[in-house]
């Protein structure tokens, strides 16, 4: 297992370098630059040139990348051009908000998704199954932007249970968590149900039935356990999403977070911040995948053997 973990970790190094190149090039190659967002009506083309030179944007792109990468390895993500603060400081300020929101939504969608998926599988083709599936279909097709506004209208405006927006109290977390979580519930529930139905057709389940165990006990104690492998895969892919998957929801609920920071900075072409945020998101996805692989390897020896 240790051998497997080390190999997987080493594989991340070239991936990280490739990701850093893509991130840097994408943001620099799209039209627009931060200086357009800084200059004032009345400033001259010469003043614009001074600003471009001040932020090193007149240097060859490759040189700019090399400087960024060198600083990256010393833990320096640079200073924001528009926001004028160290990027690391901005990320540290926003990341906890994203982790809190994404983490709670992840826990909610995992718990409720597995429970409803298992329920639908146990009561396959019953009204419970059809009801759960209908709700899942609704949850996965409603745009989160619209769902968020509906939540606000119902729970904040009509019932006045929760605040409309902001991040000032813990109650302000409830509606955004539900909005994001419901989408996750749909996915986890569907995968859980499909995996349980698949496992339910295997020989060992037939054997358990032959032994006289109750259907519900077989489903919940044996089938569900074996069906969790694909669910873990799906969940591991969603770990990266915890960090930056709530962009729209942060927007609707006027919450701080890495997603909001990224979108604002992208609109202003604040290169260092965009690069820093994207790098964080990429690292979260890479680490999430690594974690998922390691959990899978721990659960299934065939996965461990795949890297031998």
């Amino acid at each position: 297992m240790l051998n497997y973990s080390v190999k997987r970790l080493l594989l991340l190094v070239p991936v990280f370098l490739a990701v850093s190149v893509v991130i840097f090039m994408i943001i620099h190659l799209v039209p627009g630059d931060p200086i357009d967002n800084m200059i004032q009506i009345g400033s001259s083309p010469e003043q614009r040139a001074v600003l471009i030179a001040r932020y090193g944007l007149d240097q060859p792109l490759l040189l700019q990348y090399a400087v960024w990468l060198r600083n990256l390895f010393t833990g320096d993500l640079g200073d924001a051009i528009i926001l004028r603060r160290p990027v690391l400081e901005l990320i540290a300020e926003n990341l906890p908000h994203s982790l809190r929101l994404g983490g709670l939504a992840f826990i909610f969608s995992t718990a409720v998704g597995i429970a409803t998926g298992a329920l639908a599988a146990v009561f396959k083709d019953s009204w419970i199954d059809r009801g759960v599936m209908a709700l899942i279909l609704l949850g996965s097709t409603l745009p989160s932007f619209w769902l968020g506004l509906l939540m606000i209208l119902l729970f904040a405006v009509q019932l006045e249970w929760f605040p409309v927006s902001g991040a000032r109290t813990w109650t302000a977390l409830v509606l955004p968590v539900l909005t994001i979580g419901l989408h996750g519930v749909a996915l986890v529930s569907r995968v859980t149900r499909a995996a349980m139905l698949d496992v339910g057709r295997r020989d060992f389940v037939l054997m358990l039935h032959a032994k006289g165990l109750s259907h519900r006990r077989i489903q919940l104690q044996h089938v569900l356990r074996h069906a969790l492998l694909p669910v873990v895969t799906i969940l591991s892919l969603r770990i990266g999403w915890i960090v930056g998957g709530a962009v729209t929801i942060e927007f609707v609920f006027a919450r701080p977070g890495l997603g909001s920071l990224l979108i604002t900075s992208l609109a202003q072409r604040d290169y260092p911040v965009v690069q820093g945020c994207l790098l964080m998101l990429a690292m979260a996805v890479m680490l999430g995948t690594l974690l998922g692989d390691m959990v899978q390897a721990a659960m299934d020896p065939r996965v461990r053997d795949s890297l031998k």
Binding site: Q40, G42, L83, L149, P163, A254
Partner: protein, 527 residues
């Protein structure tokens, strides 16, 4: 339970309620939360000297020398009076006495001597570049000796970038000024600031020097003021409706009917500071032909756009400048108003004959132009209506919607665009120089217009005026020439609107200034 015990409990409960009411009501009653106008959202700093994007909070923390009223007149804030020499080569300001910064430091002539040179090398340097040096006449009088006359001096001094910080705090905080703390002499002190989220301000209880645009000369009536940023308009509206916030400093036109339907809310509209217009790329055929440009300009039906898209709120734009500016009052013959017959006649004269399918052709080539705009509901709607209006005279306009952050860079390619629906928000005639100067081709000069006579008139307006009156005359001449060359089509002037909770706030009868700002906030009471 005995009746005595029951009565005792009731009295105790009532007393506790009364105490808690007494304890909480005053604090609550003096607190207010405003939502920033989306245009001001995302301001990264409260450093007026170095900041390139500032919000309303800046003018609440920092006082300026002068401020401007809606009629464009100037009123003293930290300056009590001022005068310019006849040749425009010096300005003398008498400063207000008894003013203290939030850190207790006094405001006097030495502060101005320290302040003006601080702009050198910053993004805002152009604001003070005409000032050669500051001479201290006495403790409360300063004289600016000029490198060249600058009739915009008072206008510059009234902008948010001219908020005066405390020298002691500014120098002590260095680059952190405006980010971790901001110290001015304004009616509010900065308590906390989270970029993109909110700014918390507390009243400056020593404030006694508001301008004469406020009835209340100080301190402010609101004790704690929170400025929130809510990017989604629907969320902001629901916050106001449910009492989560007390005022929206900007209301999109789409939301006005819904706001007006709410009895607890009041919507106030003021003359706008924005203009929608359509620049034409004069360097690309067929727009190199002035007759085609003129035809396109007269094909735009401003009234139809005003009524069908904006419900009649706002005004038609018939020239380039906001109608409150004196320089917008040009000879009426230069104004552009919808005239489809003239448009058709001009296109005929230019050799574009009506072809099959209602699109004009010349030598077998259809009259097709690229029409760009940027993402945003209003931009898209206006562009679609303009497209239909051009079609009505035989011009086929193909719309492309661009990302707002990319579109300026795409204009800089200079030849990719032909027509574009754009808007600007600015209340100074020097916007003409910004958008039409031959030194800024591509962007901001999207019209790609480089005309020797225009450059001459521009230079005269920008640098050759000694007094305000001269500047107005020179800019009028430049404006008229721009209009005569049909390098853009004027479209629409929006109003600016804000909405507030009538149950929570009492506003002054008249909102002074160009927009809802410090001078009116001084007079706002929380009920």
């Amino acid at each position: 339970m005995t009746s005595f015990t029951r009565s005792f409990r009731l009295v105790a409960l009532a007393a506790a309620s009364a105490c808690s009411m007494a304890a909480f009501t005053p604090a609550w009653a003096q607190d207010a939360t405003f939502v920033l106008n989306s245009r001001e959202a995302g301001a990264p700093t409260y450093n007026p000297i170095k900041g390139t994007k500032l919000n309303i909070g800046n003018n609440l923390i920092f006082d300026r020398m002068v401020i401007q009223d809606a009629d464009q007149s100037f009123h003293g804030q930290l300056a009590e009076s001022w005068e310019s020499s006849a040749d425009g080569m010096s300005w003398t300001f008498k400063l207000r006495r008894g003013v203290k910064f939030h850190d207790g430091e006094p405001f006097n002539a030495k502060v101005i001597e320290w302040w003006i040179p601080k702009f050198k090398g910053t993004e805002n340097a152009f604001m003070t570049e005409a000032i050669d040096k500051v001479v201290i006449v006495d403790d409360y009088t300063v004289r600016f000796q000029m490198k060249n006359p600058d009739p915009s001096m008072l206008l510059n001094m009234s902008t948010s970038f001219m908020g005066i910080p405390s020298p002691k705090s500014y120098d002590a905080l260095g680059d952190k000024f405006g980010v971790t703390a901001a110290v001015g002499s304004g009616p509010f002190k900065l308590a906390s600031f989270t970029v993109g989220q909110q700014t918390k301000l507390v009243r400056n209880d020593d404030y006694r020097w508001a301008s004469d645009l406020s009835k209340n000369r100080g301190p402010a009536k609101i004790k704690n003021l929170t400025l929130r940023e809510i990017p989604e308009d629907s969320t902001a509206f629901l916050e106001l409706k449910t009492g989560g916030v007390d005022m929206l400093l900007g209301v999109p036109t789409d939301f006005l009917p819904r706001m007006e339907a709410e009895k607890s809310l009041k919507v106030v509209t003021m003359p706008g500071t924005e203009v929608f217009y359509m620049p034409m790329n004069t360097s690309v055929a067929p727009l190199t032909d002035i007759k085609v440009r003129e035809a396109i300009a007269f094909a735009v039906n401003q009234k139809e756009i005003l009524t069908s898209i904006f419900g009649g709120l706002g005004a038609e734009a018939n020239n380039f400048l906001v109608s409150s500016l004196q320089e917008s009052k040009i000879d009426p013959k230069f104004n552009i108003r919808f005239n489809p017959d003239r448009a058709r006649k001009l296109l005929d004269e230019a050799g574009w004959a009506m072809g099959a399918g209602g699109i004009r052709t010349k030598a077998g080539v259809p009259l097709t132009v690229k029409l760009w705009t940027q993402n945003g509901t209003q931009f898209k709607r206006v562009t679609e209506v303009v497209q239909a209006q051009l079609k009505a005279v035989g011009v086929n306009a193909e719309i492309t919607v661009q990302d707002p952050a990319s579109i300026n860079a795409m204009y800089k390619k200079q030849t990719d665009h032909q027509l574009a629906v754009r808007a600007y928000d600015y209340t100074n005639a020097d916007i003409l120089d910004w958008f039409f100067s031959g030194t800024r081709l591509g962007y901001p000069n999207v019209s790609m217009w480089n005309d020797p006579k225009a450059e001459e008139l521009n230079a005269k307006a920008m640098k050759g005026s000694r007094t305000w009156e001269e500047r107005v005359t020179n800019f009028k001449a430049y404006h008229e020439y721009v209009m005569s060359q049909f390098v853009f089509a004027p479209i629409y002037q929006p109003t600016q609107s804000f909405a507030y909770s009538q149950t929570r706030l009492k506003l002054p009868d008249t909102i002074r200034g160009i927009k809802m700002a410090t001078q009116s906030i001084m007079d706002i009471e929380v009920k």
